[in-house]
């Protein structure tokens, strides 16, 4: 079975400051890694995903995440946040083969303050 741990339930940060949202996972098999974002009153949207190849993946709105196999981590970072980045962020994993469901962490609420 897989599990995902997001240690920080809330992360307050000032606008234009850098931010890191932590994600660690546990799995006995190889997995794909995802970050989803949920804006207020909206559905989950895929932010970025790691499938293979370069361990650093980027989104179109300036977020990036780095897959670290030895530390089983997939932390999400942004060098300068905006008010509009305020949302709930979920890390998720999925097995390469077999069960196709996503396993999510409990989420991190990013609160960007002016």
């Amino acid at each position: 079975a897989q599990s995902v741990t997001q240690l920080d339930s809330q992360v307050p940060v000032f606008e234009e400051a850098p931010v890191e949202l932590r994600c660690n996972y546990s799995s006995s098999v190889s997995v794909y890694l995802f970050w989803y974002v949920q804006y207020p009153n909206q559905g989950l949207q895929l932010l970025l995903k790691y499938l293979s190849g370069s361990t650093l993946v980027e989104s179109i709105n300036g977020f990036e995440a780095e897959f670290n196999k030895s530390q089983t981590s997939f932390h999400l970072r942004k060098p300068s946040v905006h008010i509009s980045d305020t949302a709930e962020y979920f890390c998720a994993v999925r097995k390469y083969t077999g069960r196709r469901a996503l396993t999510f962490g409990s989420g991190t609420r990013l609160q960007v303050q002016p």
Binding site: S9, G43, L44, F90, R100, A101, L102, S106
Partner: protein
């Protein structure tokens, strides 16, 4: 194009009532998933369809939960004799392919169920 839609967006039920939640996936998507998201938690898997076949229902919490997708498109999640612990947001997701874990899942806005 249109995304995944769900109806109703909000549902209030009295304990013991039956409810039916609808999901309209993106047209042509083969795979459909249902998740349950309790307050303050991440979504948890309930069940998975590939076309009309329910290939995985390991996440359904009890036999009061039932899902169907009879024509391989629209899906309905039914909860019988609702209990207070069923209160949650029910999310539907679809993906275009049938195989491969790299397939992106596209989520609907969810149905918030409150059981009084």
């Amino acid at each position: 194009g249109a995304g995944v839609s769900q109806s109703p967006r909000y549902k209030v039920a009295k304990r013991g009532q039956d409810v039916a939640l609808r999901c309209d996936p993106i047209s042509g998507h083969v795979s459909l998933f249902w998740y349950q998201q309790a307050l303050g938690q991440g979504p948890e898997f309930l069940t998975y369809f590939q076309n009309e076949a329910q290939l995985d229902k390991s996440g359904l919490p009890s036999d009061r939960f039932f899902a169907e997708r009879p024509e391989g498109s629209v899906s309905t999640l039914k909860i019988q004799r609702t209990q207070q612990e069923d209160s949650a947001v029910y999310l539907c997701a679809s993906s275009p392919l049938a195989g491969g874990g790299a397939d992106t899942q596209y989520f609907g806005p969810g149905t918030r169920l409150t059981v009084l």
